[in-house]
């Protein structure tokens, strides 16, 4: 028993166990997704996050300890963002031809995301710091956090809202766009990237490469657009 306890404290303090568990939870999430017949609400990220949250809670492990191992995965977000240039490059011809619809979708999506989120939260009684934290939630995390700081929001709250927005977008996109009878992969991808950043983009890549490329483009464009739109929206509700 003491040996086991000593072994556990040795393992749980190092990065190896948590890195392995992160990959294992993701593999389990992916297996659930496939077993469900690729149902959008069985989201791989969501399943993996729930599994890991339960493990951390059950073993009384601090997030900081977990992140010692998980940081190796987290770090790859940067190179992955740079990698999005490749599908963009592959679809450059399509993108050039679709410049007008892309601009229209970006404006409509970005303004709707910020304005409707703030308006609904305001109508439900949210005020002050929390209200400003909602406005940039459709932008990719580092951008959203930077914007929240500038417009008087709480960065931690914004980070939570950004991740939850991403998961929401990844879950609702397929049934929603099917119900709206939108079959154009460019429109489907771009709208998901604009509304739900990288997590939505990851979901789009699971479905179709053109949708993935346009989602990556939507995410990048909305990172810029939200920096202008979110402060305007918050000013309206002050």
């Amino acid at each position: 028993m003491t040996d086991l306890t000593a072994f556990w404290s040795y393992l749980s303090e190092g990065p190896l166990l948590w890195l392995a568990l992160t990959l294992l939870a993701y593999a389990a999430g992916d297996a659930c997704f496939r077993a469900s017949g690729r149902k959008p609400y069985v989201n791989t990220v969501l399943v993996a996050v729930v599994i890991l949250a339960v493990i951390l809670w059950a073993t009384g492990t601090a997030y900081g300890t977990y992140f010692e191992g998980a940081q190796f995965v987290h770090f790859l977000l940067g190179p992955a963002t740079v990698s999005l240039a490749l599908p963009l490059f592959d679809n450059l011809g399509q993108l050039r031809r679709a410049a007008l619809p892309v601009a229209a979708a970006l404006l409509a999506g970005s303004a709707t995301a910020a304005a409707s989120a703030v308006a609904i939260a305001w109508a439900l009684g949210v005020r002050g710091e929390a209200l400003a934290s909602v406005a940039p939630k459709s932008a990719t995390a580092p951008v959203a956090i930077g914007i929240a700081e500038r417009i008087g929001g709480a960065p931690t709250l914004t980070a939570v809202l950004v991740i939850l927005t991403g998961i929401t977008g990844a879950v609702v996109a397929t049934p929603l766009l099917n119900a709206l009878r939108i079959r154009d992969w460019r429109a489907r991808g771009l709208s998901v990237g604009v509304a739900s950043h990288g997590i939505g983009t990851a979901r789009a890549f699971q479905i179709n490469p053109t949708a993935g490329a346009f989602a990556g483009l939507g995410m990048a464009l909305n990172a810029v657009a939200t920096a202008f739109i979110a402060p305007l929206v918050v000013a309206l509700f002050r």
Partner: protein
């Protein structure tokens, strides 16, 4: 693989440097993506060399959000007493934003005559 990883990291590094030096609101990796796009367009044959690594990373893009997602669980309590209001705002606005963006795209594509192919 080492060379293409180096290229990805170099673009990110240049992007971070540009974001800091010029005080841009756009994050370094997004600027790095634009630099990478410039390289791909300027150098013939470059795409074929970085493709295996870049596509390998992108194929597992979802995995990379798991650590941040786990961090969020611990902060769910920061939603506080307004949790329900914030969650309703978040879900409804995300649905509206996807619908608005997709509808705007399809409408303008039709008007401009740039249909799907």
């Amino acid at each position: 693989m080492i060379h293409s990883l180096l290229v990805l990291l170099a673009c990110q590094l240049a992007g971070e440097a540009a974001a800091r030096l010029l005080g841009l609101a756009v994050p370094g990796p997004v600027i790095g993506m634009l630099l990478m796009l410039g390289l791909l367009a300027a150098l013939p044959g470059f795409a074929a060399r970085v493709r295996p690594t870049a596509e390998g990373i992108l194929a597992n893009l979802s995995l990379l959000f798991v650590p941040a997602g786990v961090g969020v669980v611990g902060h769910i309590s920061t939603l506080g007493t307004q949790a329900v209001a914030l969650l309703v705002a978040l879900v409804v606005s995300t649905v509206l934003a996807i619908a608005a963006a997709a509808a705007a795209f399809v409408l303008v594509a039709r008007l401009a005559g740039v249909g799907d192919d």
